[in-house]
Symmetry: C2
DNA sequence: TTGTACGCGTTATCAT
DNA sequence: ATGATAACGCGTACAA
């Protein structure tokens, strides 16, 4: 029976140090250090002795001490600043997390996620030397806070453009215009001739892009623009659908600019006796509900969330290696793979 | 215009140190340190000078260096070990996270969340001195991995009992027996007289507790036990429902031991022509789908997830302060507030 | 190939 | 009240 610790004891028992391993193995600290970090130039027998001692003592390197001398913490932070926890159920976040995680798994860096909305605590942690860089999920964050983060003395990249940011940052942009165009293109390809859109609340940049994409697509097809703003709440979305149907009874296709309005839209269509997809085909932007969240399952253009995460992680990692790039300009990137993904389901 | 950093520059520009602040303020390092940490015994004018210099230089304490000498990192980890990312959409996790977060927000400790399923990386991080303790979300984790974590030289508490753990740990237990009893009690109170249960896979401790609670409740009401094991997959759940209905056509109430089976159960009831709740009232354990995930919305007994999180955080914090408690025994705790929550919706 | 010695940024102990 | 100085655990030039 090895020595086990109780609850509170653990805090008192100090973890074994490099020094202790060295003594146990009969070598110097430096040699142990060499073995721990990719053993270069150490005789085989000593390597064995050291590894043995490490295993016996259960030695784990003290990252805090290491960070102090190497100026690297070997870990990077994923920040969810200034938002409630409903993001958790957002597939965008899940995909992004997976993309970041996969990319970092191939490196020695550890990913730590911070759900923190106190700016002071955020700054203290980031500046504290526990992380080498940060990825900020900026889709939903408060712009003022985001701008403050951009000024950190630490490489930071953003998952979406930061409005009004005056310092150069790394950021990933998804081409919402093209995505919206593709969504409408899909409706056209299945034969829709009177295509409307329930746009998001006016003013949000991504919402504007989606509206632009919609307008470009219908214009190119020689069709009229049939738009109504839906906003964020169910009531507004319902009103928008009602207006759309009243003014254009021949509506046969609908592009919904945000999945949060999807259920309300489906409900209203049903209430007005329209069958989906037989009477009206529906495509939504983003894919929060996936294949099972609605009836019928929604055809959706989703952001390529996993690629987005991978892209962010790579930007940040590249950043750390480079001595000095063109640091005077904001660096934008588009995810490697598709700039968006169209998932065709039952609603079209 | 203050000095701004570019992308890669940040990695090279070293953050200002205590020493530099001291020079700027014309005092010694020690004095600056005193000001930074709850200024005790420092003259007011010097306090001002130091605070000024701190603001001017944008000084942030280096937590890694501090951790080295104080043996405290002032941060604790929340671990999601060995699981895919579908937990993200689990309200249990969301509530737990909120409970932990709220509790820690009142302290100086920072919460960091690790989505990591590589045991080696997990151990390296935990032993690395970046965190003072860990809360493990052990509901879905691999028992072997959980047992390994329990042996860490670090205070660790678990959100659910760890099967087959041979070292004393801190853990929170939710009273599943009472919760199941209450669920069945609810069915009784609305007039059900033939109440069945779709139990979880035999062998899982919490599933056993729920079955026990069910049996106690029906026995107390003088009703017969009508049980069938459902397991974890849809097929098993469907078979269980079919068997139940075949053997007890007069079934008018159903207690489903896990929400993961809920959809399959609803589907089967519909397939057999039973309306919910008119013919059969349904209560499920756990509340993954919430108010909108199923039709009809399910009445559910959910774990008090936020209280659970708060409870875990308090256990861990208490742990760190105490010099030595009765460390030879596993420490269990029950969340402060309700041991469960009954949410009545459309299925009863 | 191996060991010695120094420094990373901070807190804490001791003088003053 | 304040300032030297010694740790904390580790990596790494440099010397051997």
């Amino acid at each position: 029976m090895t020595k086990h610790r109780g609850l509170a004891v653990g805090a008192r028992v100090r973890a074994p140090t490099l020094e202790q391993v060295a003594v146990a193995a009969g070598v110097s600290r430096a040699t142990v250090s060499r073995v721990v970090n990719g053993a270069a130039q150490v005789r085989d027998d000593k390597i064995d002795r050291v590894k043995n001692a490490i295993a016996r003592l259960g030695y784990v390197p003290n990252r805090a001490a290491r960070a102090l001398v190497t100026q690297r913490a070997d870990s990077i932070a994923l920040l969810l600043p200034g938002l409630d926890l409903q993001v958790l159920s957002d597939p965008l976040f899940a995909g992004l997390l997976r993309g970041v995680g996969r990319t970092l798994a191939a490196t020695s860096s550890q990913l730590v996620v911070l759900f923190e909305d106190d700016p002071r605590r955020l700054v203290r942690y980031l500046g504290g030397g526990h992380v080498d860089g940060a990825i900020v999920v900026s889709q939903y964050g408060d712009p003022a806070l985001l701008r403050q983060l951009a000024r950190q003395v630490l490489p930071v990249v953003f998952s979406a453009p930061v409005p009004g940011c005056d310092v150069p940052v790394g950021q990933v942009e998804v081409d919402d215009v093209a995505a919206a165009r593709a969504a409408v293109g899909h409706l056209l390809s299945i034969g829709c001739r009177r295509i409307g859109t329930v746009a998001g609340r006016p003013g949000l940049p991504s919402g504007q892009d989606r509206l632009t994409g919609y307008r470009e697509a219908v214009a190119a097809a020689g069709l009229p623009v049939v738009q109504e703003f839906g906003g964020a709440c169910d009531e507004e979305a319902e009103r928008a659908v009602a207006t759309l149907l009243a003014e254009h009874p021949d509506l046969d296709g609908l592009f919904v600019a945000s999945d949060v309005m999807a259920r309300a839209v489906l409900r209203m269509l049903a209430a007005h006796g329209r069958r989906v997809p037989d009477d009206v085909a529906v495509v939504v932007f983003d894919d929060r509900f996936g294949a099972t969240g609605t009836v019928p399952a929604l055809t959706a253009v989703g952001r390529p969330s996993e690629a987005l995460g991978a892209c962010l992680a790579e930007m940040l990692l590249g950043d750390e290696d480079e001595i000095l790039t063109d640091s005077s300009a904001t660096q934008s990137a588009v995810p490697d793979r598709a700039a968006f993904e169209l998932v065709v389901r039952d609603s079209t």
